[in-house]
């Protein structure tokens, strides 16, 4: 059995670790709350925008003319991988890397063998991972999470749209964690460009009374204006989703760590007490046998 002093030192170290994980849990919880309100506020906005666009594209058939909905043979692929800047959030980052690599090697294996799959990473963990493994990382936007605002996300969205319009890429996909609740994240791959055809979107049963709208100036112009807007929103939403998921994942991971520390502490305390008792018993035994010897 370990000596008394060793056990005491271990107890102290586990205790301080527990304090750290507990503090991190609190921090993640408060960040999560903020991220959650942001994403909840954005969802109706995105939903409304999509609804308007849907209303419009149902009534006109010009969506094919738009550059952003142009289907091309997917030769050059761009994957936007959204992870986190910091670790200690359980399997959050490793899951997303695994998913991205798996996705590249299965769905885009042909393009990948021709070295036509590029990456844009958001989040330091993803940047490091793909750089180290010599994937074709074009850009990293780790700073997005420092100031997660719509304006900053728009800059990146503009860049993606330009790349697509200039035919630098034939297809752009987003890979990120969608926020469900604090404990559950859903890993998803989302087609960003070209825009998924409206049939797919129209499946959601929005029973809407068709109002006789006035369109100002006209439908085509509105659709042309709306599409880049929805794309900007889509990217911003993905980033927000991922950020909220990260905080949720960190909170649960730190909660578990704190609980584990508690279990560990209990075991350590028991062995400490046993060792102490042992030492006392030994000391008493010595005294008693010493006294016996004197009597003799």
């Amino acid at each position: 059995m370990a000596g008394l002093k060793d056990v005491r030192i271990r107890i102290a170290s586990v205790k301080s670790t527990q304090q750290i994980t507990n503090a991190m849990k609190m921090v993640a919880a408060s960040k999560l709350r903020r991220a959650q309100t942001a994403i909840i506020k954005l969802r109706p906005y995105a939903a409304k925008l999509r609804e308007i666009l849907q209303n419009l594209s149902a009534s006109i058939d010009h969506s094919d003319e738009n550059v952003f909905s142009q289907e091309r043979k997917p030769e050059k692929i761009l994957l936007v991988v959204i992870a986190s800047n910091r670790g200690l959030c359980g399997a959050f980052n490793s899951n997303i890397m695994k998913m991205a690599v798996h996705f590249t090697e299965t769905t885009y294996s042909q393009q990948f063998s021709k070295n036509n799959v590029s990456f844009i990473t958001i989040g330091r963990k993803a940047s490091e991972y793909f750089r180290k493994r010599k994937y074709n990382v074009l850009e990293s936007h780790d700073e997005l999470f420092d100031q997660l605002t719509f304006a900053n996300a728009s800059i990146l969205a503009e860049k993606l749209m330009k790349g697509f319009a200039a035919k630098d890429f034939d297809r752009i996909d987003l890979i990120y964690n969608q926020f469900k609740n604090a404990a559950v994240q859903r890993l998803i791959v989302e087609q960003y460009l070209p825009i998924a055809p409206p049939q797919a979107m129209a499946q959601s049963p929005v029973a809407r009374v068709e109002a006789d709208y006035i369109f100002e100036p006209d439908k085509e112009v509105i659709v042309r204006e709306l599409i880049p807007k929805t794309l900007r929103i889509q990217l911003f939403k993905a980033a927000l989703d991922s950020f909220a998921s990260e905080q949720g994942a960190r909170m649960t991971a730190m909660q578990k760590a704190t609980e584990n520390a508690k279990d560990l502490l209990r075991d350590l305390n028991i062995s400490y007490n046993k060792a102490r008792q042992n030492a006392i018993t030994n000391a008493i035994l010595e005294i008693v046998s010493g006294a016996e010897a004197l009597k003799g």
Partner: protein
């Protein structure tokens, strides 16, 4: 009429008793009054002016473009 102005980051205005709203349309400024017909339009960068019914105070909001939908006396501005 009911007016809601929302941006991706937050809701910047909601009101039930708006008498007039002036918006920077893509082809020039326009106003929406009570009982306007259903309308969808695109906005450019500019200022939204808003006056509550029975009040003289004007409220202003800066936007970087957006979309407006008017239906059933409800005005929804998705600003940027």
């Amino acid at each position: 009429m009911k007016v809601e102005i929302i941006t991706p980051d937050s809701t910047i205005f909601t009101g039930d008793n708006v008498g007039l709203i002036q918006l920077p349309g893509i082809d020039g400024s326009f106003e929406v009054l009570n009982n306007h017909a259903p309308l969808i339009s695109v906005l450019r960068k500019g200022k939204i002016k808003l006056i509550n019914k029975g009040e003289k105070v004007e409220h202003f909001f800066e936007i970087n473009g957006g979309v407006i939908e008017v239906v059933n006396n409800k005005v929804l501005v998705l600003a940027e």
